[in-house]
Symmetry: C2
Subunit: 189 residues, 2 copies
């Protein structure tokens, strides 16, 4: 039974997440095993369970980062100096771009049914959605109903989900995204 490593290479949450992120982005949630991650790091799989209780917890830790990322992207767009209508368009496109650029993370954020993972997801989506909804509401001169904003979200979600499934990058569907957003804006304003 070989012992633990010396302190300069002690395993950390960060290290695990970094390794997991890479594998995860390449293969998706379902196709990354704890043993793979451990191997990548040069540790035994048991070690990971010292730092994370679960596969689910490990992946959700990464997801939290990405909800923040989404919030930032949105906030950035809001701070730009653009015509209101154009800004609204950018917000919706920004959501799609985020979803298709971080497909694997979008998957856990909004797609995974796995109860174990979902147990960790509570505030994340709600908070992000609230920021999204508020932005859209402002950019519509407060003329849009909450239900309509919700419909917009669901419709963007549909776009991302569909093209995520066929593993397409954002660039490849930029034009379609634009057209979709225009379609949605037509009934929003």
């Amino acid at each position: 039974m070989s012992p633990r490593k010396s302190v300069q290479q002690e395993l950390t949450r960060e290290m695990i997440m970094d390794a997991a992120r890479d594998l995860f982005v390449q293969n998706g949630y379902g196709h990354v095993s704890m043993r793979q991650i451990a191997k990548e790091l040069g540790y035994s799989h048991g070690a990971i369970y010292y730092h994370f209780t679960n596969k689910a917890e490990l992946f959700y830790a990464m997801v939290q980062e990405h909800f923040h990322m989404l919030d930032h992207i949105l906030a950035n767009i809001m701070e730009q100096e653009l015509e209101q209508h154009e800004k609204l368009k950018q917000v919706l496109l920004g959501f799609i771009e985020f979803g298709l650029t971080h497909q694997s993370h979008y998957e856990i954020m909004f797609l995974i049914k796995d109860e174990e993972v979902r147990n960790f997801i509570n505030e994340g989506p709600n908070k992000s959605y609230e920021a999204f909804a508020k932005s859209v509401y402002m950019l519509c001169d407060k003329k849009a109903s909450l239900q309509d904003i919700w419909s917009v979200f669901l419709s963007l979600h549909g776009f991302v989900t569909h093209y995520s499934r066929h593993v397409v990058g954002y660039d490849e569907v930029k034009d379609l995204a634009r057209s979709h957003v225009n379609f949605l804006l037509r009934s929003l304003i």
Copy 2:
């Protein structure tokens, strides 16, 4: 080594699919094992592999049935005597109802990323979508663009996907579905 069963109880594709359907509807694709299905049937799991090459093939066989079901639902609505506008509404609502009533099947039809399953899926979705698109096109007096119809589909897909994730039945979101459909129709016509 116990031998095979006598002919009155010989295993068939139908029998396997029936058992699989039940388990699958209850637990979703990822949480049904071949051994479970075999147990349900009173056979060893190896026997299933005589009739289906794969778990993926088994489940896709069921999915094909459900694409036909979706087509029928659509065709039924089209045959009803309704005002055009109302009929269009029913088509869109019909899609959502189908998706939320057969969540597990919708999952494989439109959601699963698994390459193995996707290898079997080729014509199914395309054919169904074409029928859907044609219907919508007709009911709009041929005034809607193909891109808009595609956007409608993606938006319905988003609705189903979202509420599927939270395992809600159609009845519980009927009103929301209606509101979503109205939102979409507003920019379609």
